[in-house]
């Protein structure tokens, strides 16, 4: 199978859906000729024209609101939010409007829109361009939240997102845009709410999202070298969350680490860990361990920034503690 970059995968997914459905449009800053600063959308304006690939002013709340209205009236807008850190600016339009419209109208109005944005630190971009804010939107009923961990997932989840009749927020890892992975040429979609077992294992379950799937996979390789067999699971969408796949895995392995690049406090690791600790309670041999990003604004200085995100080594260290299962090592 051919390999393409995550960036190309997103581009292909959008292009295919735009060919298939003339109501799909793109709104955002520098999405047209520039193809976004990350160049993910290059070529789309050439194919679909400036009527469907629309450069906006630097007005995130405004163009998100416009997308909500467009979605309510017959279009399927894709909002391009240049950095995930700008989510704070669009929270009202996304959470008070898009997320609630279908419910508040008793099922009459729908808001089929996609907000694509990114996450991820260690790019030396400092505190306002490095956040991973997916927990914020996952908290809000009415929003779906997808987190591709490779080019393959990026393509399949994006296509599903565009066809979904609800507002979907999709987070790409900005450090992964140039990473290649095998992606079929034939059309495929990835259903929401189905976790993927990247690697089967018996001793411990590593649940990881987005950027952290690679970290978990690297950790699993290191653990294998020490005869610890790790199962690596990627929820792929955190809302809806495929609880049963996670729980079945932990029932088998009896140990789990949840790894996510959002802040740890009140973050995604908390939800997933508490679901497992509840539903797999009688099967656990050790506490479910959480590894989120440090609870600090992302520092600019490289030496500090690198400390804030989970690494394979630190996952291995924790996994070994849990395997020992000795009380004092855990707390």
């Amino acid at each position: 199978m051919r390999s393409i970059t995550l960036s190309q995968a997103v581009n292909e997914a959008i292009a295919e859906e735009m060919r298939r459905d003339p109501t799909v449009i793109i709104l955002g800053e520098d999405v047209a000729e520039a193809g976004t600063p990350f160049k993910v959308l290059s070529g789309l304006v050439e194919e679909f024209g400036t009527d469907r690939v629309i450069d906006t002013p630097i007005s995130e709340p405004g163009f998100t609101g416009i997308a909500v209205g467009a979605a309510m009236t017959g279009l399927r807008p894709i909002v391009d939010l240049m950095f995930g850190d700008f989510l704070y600016l669009v929270m009202d339009q996304l959470c008070n409007q898009a997320a609630k419209t279908h419910y508040m109208s008793g099922g009459k109005l729908t808001v089929p829109m996609v907000l694509r944005t990114n996450l991820g630190a260690t790019r030396r971009s400092a505190a306002q361009h490095s956040q991973s804010l997916h927990a914020l939107v996952a908290h809000i009923p009415g929003l779906k939240v997808a987190m591709p961990s490779s080019a393959y997932e990026a393509k399949g989840l994006m296509k599903t997102a565009i066809r979904d009749n609800n507002p979907v927020v999709i987070f790409e890892d900005k450090l992964m845009y140039q990473d290649k992975a095998p992606v079929p040429e034939e059309e495929f979609l990835i259903p929401f709410g189905e976790a993927k077992v990247h690697q089967a294992g018996d001793d411990i379950t590593l649940i990881a999202t987005s950027s952290m799937v690679q970290v978990a996979q690297a950790a699993a390789r290191l653990l294998a070298a020490q005869n610890i067999s790790a199962e690596v699971i990627d929820p792929r969408t955190i809302a809806p969350l495929d609880c049963s796949t996670l729980i079945e895995s932990v029932k088998k392995t009896s140990r789990a680490i949840v790894i996510d690049e959002g802040h740890q406090q009140y973050g995604v690791t908390a939800e997933i860990a508490s679901v497992i600790a509840h539903d797999a309670f009688y099967y656990l041999d050790a506490p479910v361990h959480r590894m989120g990003a440090m609870d600090v604004p992302v520092p600019f200085s490289p030496v500090l920034e690198d400390l804030t995100v989970p690494t394979p080594d630190r996952v291995v260290e924790q996994a070994k503690k849990l395997m020992r299962g000795v009380r004092e090592h855990v707390a």
């Binding site: 002013p57 007005s59 163009f63 997308a67 209205g69 467009a70 339009q93 109208s105 009749n165």
Partner: protein, 323 residues
């Protein structure tokens, strides 16, 4: 007088009366402790909603506000489903899930009231974008209050509407107060200039004069369909009640004299009635019959809504997501 004009006048008159009557009954429900929560009365502003909506087709859209009953009626909604919604009943426009502040009536092009001040400015502009991209010739009117001029979102979307020549009309109902504060204390400069600064042609109009409102709107709707939009209308108007039904003692922020002045001198229904009679567009008797009929309809709808069923409890978690 041409019969189609007479017809239009009577239609607009009836719509204004319907709004006044709807609000009277809604307020009564509140006073009788039969209404869940609070609600914001549109009484006094009828000429705005009616003058504008009468210039629209059913396929044109509007977005509305927390003070939205008037827009809803004017765009063609029925009393029964409206009262059911206000009482949280299953036959309400939103199955009781939205209530007064979120009432929507998609079939008639009402994309919904909104409890976030200024919150529907993006939605209206987006609806206009749809019209442009799909090449329908429908126009969207965005209703909002003078207070909403404080929300930056409005300027962001006005700018885009102007850049992209969208068929949207921003209708600012300047009723001189946002809650308990006068507009002058909330807005520096001139409201009209706030559209113009973003390249939008703007107009001021007497919002108590339904014909003036209607005439201007007709022109702007026509021009919008030709791609000459967007536009801003600033409509001078007044709310008779408090900010919401519970805002009874309000002399600390506005005087009884001022309220009386607007009710006695500038009432949009009374003045239109006098105008119609003077111009021989209608007789006193005809108009009285309309009022009586509307009152009966409203009362019947209230009775119906009071008896209607609440939604089944298992609807609590339906409609979170569309299929």
């Amino acid at each position: 007088m041409a019969s189609n004009q007479r017809e239009q006048w009577l239609r607009m008159y009836e719509q204004m009366v319907k709004i006044r009557q709807f609000e009277f009954q809604a307020n009564q429900l509140y006073l009788d402790a039969k209404m869940p929560g609070l609600t914001h009365m549109y009484s006094g502003q009828e000429a705005v909603a009616v003058g504008i909506c009468d210039a629209l087709e059913k396929t044109d859209s509007i977005t509305s506000t927390h003070r939205g009953h008037g827009h809803c009626v004017a765009k063609g909604a029925e009393f029964k489903a409206m009262f059911c919604e206000l009482l949280g009943k299953a036959e309400g426009y939103c199955r009781g899930k939205g209530g007064s502040m979120h009432i929507a009536d998609q079939d008639n092009g009402n994309l919904g009231a909104n409890a976030i001040v200024g919150g529907s400015a993006g939605i209206a502009t987006g609806a206009a974008l749809t019209a442009k991209i799909l090449g329908t010739d429908s126009v969207t009117v965005c209703f909002f209050g003078d207070g909403a001029m404080g929300q930056g979102l409005l300027y962001e979307v006005m700018n885009m509407a102007a850049l992209w020549h969208l068929p949207v009309i921003y209708a600012c109902e300047n009723n001189h107060y946002g809650e308990y504060t006068k507009t002058e204390e909330m807005a520096a400069g001139e409201l009209k200039a706030r559209g113009e600064a973003f390249g939008i042609e703007a107009f001021e109009v007497d919002g108590q004069n339904v014909l003036a409102v209607n005439n201007l709107t007709q022109t702007l709707v026509e021009r919008s369909r030709k791609g000459e939009g967007p536009f801003l209308m600033v409509l001078d108007t007044y709310r008779y009640h408090g900010h919401h039904v519970g805002d009874i003692n309000r002399t600390y922020y506005r005087s009884k004299e001022e309220e009386a002045h607007w009710r006695d001198e500038r009432d949009p229904i009374d003045n239109f009635e006098a105008h119609m009679i003077a111009k021989k567009g209608a007789t006193k008797k005809e108009l009285k019959e309309i009022r009586a009929r509307v009152e009966q309809e409203a009362k019947a709808a209230v009775e119906y809504a009071l008896q209607a069923d609440y939604p089944p409890l298992d609807e609590v978690d339906s409609h979170v997501f569309a299929a």
